[in-house]
């Protein structure tokens, strides 16, 4: 057993991680899928010639591949394909921005909590418990009531909802790291607290944080779809997959295509991120696989 471990240890860790990641085909598919989705969001106007918001009352509920509309039209005659393509923009925006927002706010708090422990830690833990006790939907609904429903408030709600989880991860890592010899040595040699936190602790907790981010993005995307489905997220006429599904449910008897396509779009996006995140986790932390 030890023999086996020692052979593996001889490879450089970065190369081993890359190999572990590339060894999982689904993870690579996920990464490619994410790149395609990003490209679709950026080059939306080049991909489709129809405006996602232009109505055409002569072509309502057009079937796919009819009248020049690849995926048909909706109840207002808007091109479904265009709406799906443009929908990637708000989807990615909410998913990525909310996650980064939550991470950037939470990581420093988590590190401070784990490094100083004591009453600072207790106070921070109680406050995260408070946030945790409000499901993201309640936060989103509350913000929608106070500030009005909008994309920005959906991002804010999903970002806030992620804070407790990230704080806990960063705190757990910091608690472990502060006992490590290199951190103890830095403390003993009189390094200032900000230096210790930023130079010694943060770089050594990047792996779990990267994994957390890659898992949180698809969660936030699902959350944003849920919010726009309920009408408290992205507001019409901006195309969003969730709100497309909400209207589609009304017309389930007339045109079921409208209900199938946005769901497939959401599913494919979150699948790509989840496959990617799983591969990343296996590569960075083999013990969990």
């Amino acid at each position: 057993m030890t023999d086996l471990a020692s052979t593996k240890r001889r490879q450089k860790p970065q190369r081993r991680r890359l190999k572990a990641f590339l060894g999982r085909k689904v993870a690579v598919f996920g990464a490619i899928g994410i790149l395609i989705i990003i490209a679709m969001a950026i080059f939306a106007p080049l991909i489709t010639s129809y405006s996602p918001t232009a109505t055409d009352f002569t072509h309502l509920f057009a079937a796919p591949f009819s009248g020049g509309h690849i995926l048909g039209t909706d109840q207002l005659g808007r091109d479904s394909f265009s709406r799906l393509i443009y929908g990637t923009q708000s989807t990615l925006e909410v998913g990525v921005v909310a996650t980064l927002l939550g991470t950037f706010v939470a990581v420093p708090i988590g590190i401070v909590s784990g490094y100083y422990r004591g009453w600072v830690d207790s106070v921070i833990m109680r406050l995260t418990d408070v946030i945790l006790s409000f499901p993201f939907l309640v936060i989103a609904v509350g913000l929608a009531a106070i500030l009005g429903p909008s994309l920005r408030n959906a991002i804010l709600a999903l970002g806030i909802a992620q804070i407790p989880g990230v704080i806990r991860i960063a705190r757990a890592e910091a608690l472990g790291l502060r006992e490590q010899e290199f951190v103890q040595a830095a403390i003993a040699s009189g390094a200032s607290d900000p230096t210790i936190l930023a130079r010694y602790m943060l770089p050594n907790m990047l792996s779990p944080l990267v994994v957390q981010v890659s898992v949180a993005i698809p969660g936030a995307i699902l959350g944003s779809a849920l919010l726009s489905f309920l009408g408290v997220g992205v507001q019409p006429p901006t195309p969003a997959w969730g709100s497309m599904l909400a209207t589609a449910q009304t017309y389930l008897y007339q045109d079921y295509w409208l209900a199938v396509l946005p769901g497939v779009a959401i599913l494919l996006t979150t699948l790509c991120f989840n496959f990617f995140g799983d591969g990343l986790r296996d590569a960075l932390d083999p013990s969990l696989g």
Partner: protein, 318 residues
């Protein structure tokens, strides 16, 4: 054990108080005049004046907060301007629906997710492991409301096997009630199952590698006892905590599932109260949801400490 319980109870109480302050502050942060907001869109000047008096809106905020808490403790959560009913009555009518949906979904998740997770761990690297893992990722990736719409589309709209939406009480029509619940429970429960399955699988893999499982085998125990007694007991502790943490996520899922299947539960009421600016109801629901989350996690802590002698005996926290 007792000391640990007291400490957890204390922490939960503090969290609950802080959460109630957040709800109170949130309602005060609503746009416009508080009294106007509370009396509904078309409140008359007299009504507004009455509300200002009733809620003590001209008193200092601290006093208002304590008045509010006192009212809650006496079971008075105000009157919904929308229906004219008391909020307590409104919530009490809808609570059973949500409770039934939540409990059945968790049951579904546990019954499906835990055995599959154990099985996948035992068959690690085999096709069955990959299959169940892929299915779990699928379960995590699929938007619940879309899954619900698809079920309605195939099982109701196209083949009329199950009712598409609506709700009858279990007590007036048990069979009809369960039929109404099948699709919502599958939708909500499959997400829970996916999370529990993955957690169970990784927890099981970890315990299967542990030295004490090797000791159990060295004793000559049959594999059934090695897995069922020695490995399972230690993997379950982690899963119990996950169930508690998932509860918040589940509550958001409940709302949207109720919306899709038109179940008259707490989630639907929450969404409705936003759009109808029914702030007393919204305020009560936010507090209720936060309180139930805190209480559930306290119960989970107790369950965790019962399963884990290290916590039970020394009061060490996880």
């Amino acid at each position: 054990m007792r000391r640990y319980l007291y400490r957890r109870a204390g922490a939960s109480f503090i969290t609950l108080v802080l959460a109630s302050m957040v709800v109170f502050a949130g309602v005060r942060a609503l746009p416009g005049n508080m009294a106007v907001a509370l009396s509904g869109e078309n409140g008359s000047a007299a009504a507004i004046a009455a509300i200002t008096r009733e809620y003590g809106l001209n008193k200092p905020l601290v006093v208002q907060y304590f008045d509010w808490v006192r009212q809650i403790l006496t079971g008075n959560l105000g009157i919904s301007p929308q229906t004219g009913q008391s909020v307590v009555q409104e919530v009490a009518q809808r609570l059973p629906v949500t409770l039934e949906l939540t409990l059945l979904s968790i049951l579904f998740g546990v019954v499906v997710g835990i055995p599959v997770g154990i099985f996948a761990a035992l068959k690690r690297g085999k096709p069955i492991d990959y299959a169940s893992n892929s299915l779990a990722i699928f379960g995590l990736s699929i938007p619940s409301f879309w899954f619900g719409i698809l079920l309605i589309l195939f099982l109701s709209v196209r083949s009329h096997i199950l009712p598409s939406s609506g709700f009858v009480s279990f007590f007036s029509n048990p069979l009809g009630n369960l039929k109404d619940m099948i699709m919502p429970v599958v939708v909500l429960g499959s997400g829970v199952a996916a999370i529990l399955m993955r957690q169970m699988r990784s927890g099981m893999l970890e315990t299967l590698r542990s030295d004490y499982v090797r000791t159990a085998r060295a004793k000559g125990l049959p594999e059934r006892a090695v897995i069922g007694k020695h490995a399972l007991r230690n993997s379950l502790t982690a899963v119990v905590t996950i169930i508690g943490l998932q509860f918040g996520v589940l509550l958001s899922g409940v709302a949207v599932t109720e919306q899709v299947f038109l179940l008259p539960g707490i989630g639907q009421l929450t969404i409705d109260s936003v759009f109808q600016r029914d702030y007393p109801t919204l305020q009560a629901l936010a507090l209720l949801i936060a309180a139930s989350y805190i209480v559930i996690n306290f119960l989970v802590d107790i369950a965790y400490s019962l399963l884990n002698p290290r916590v039970r005996l020394t009061g060490a926290s996880k």
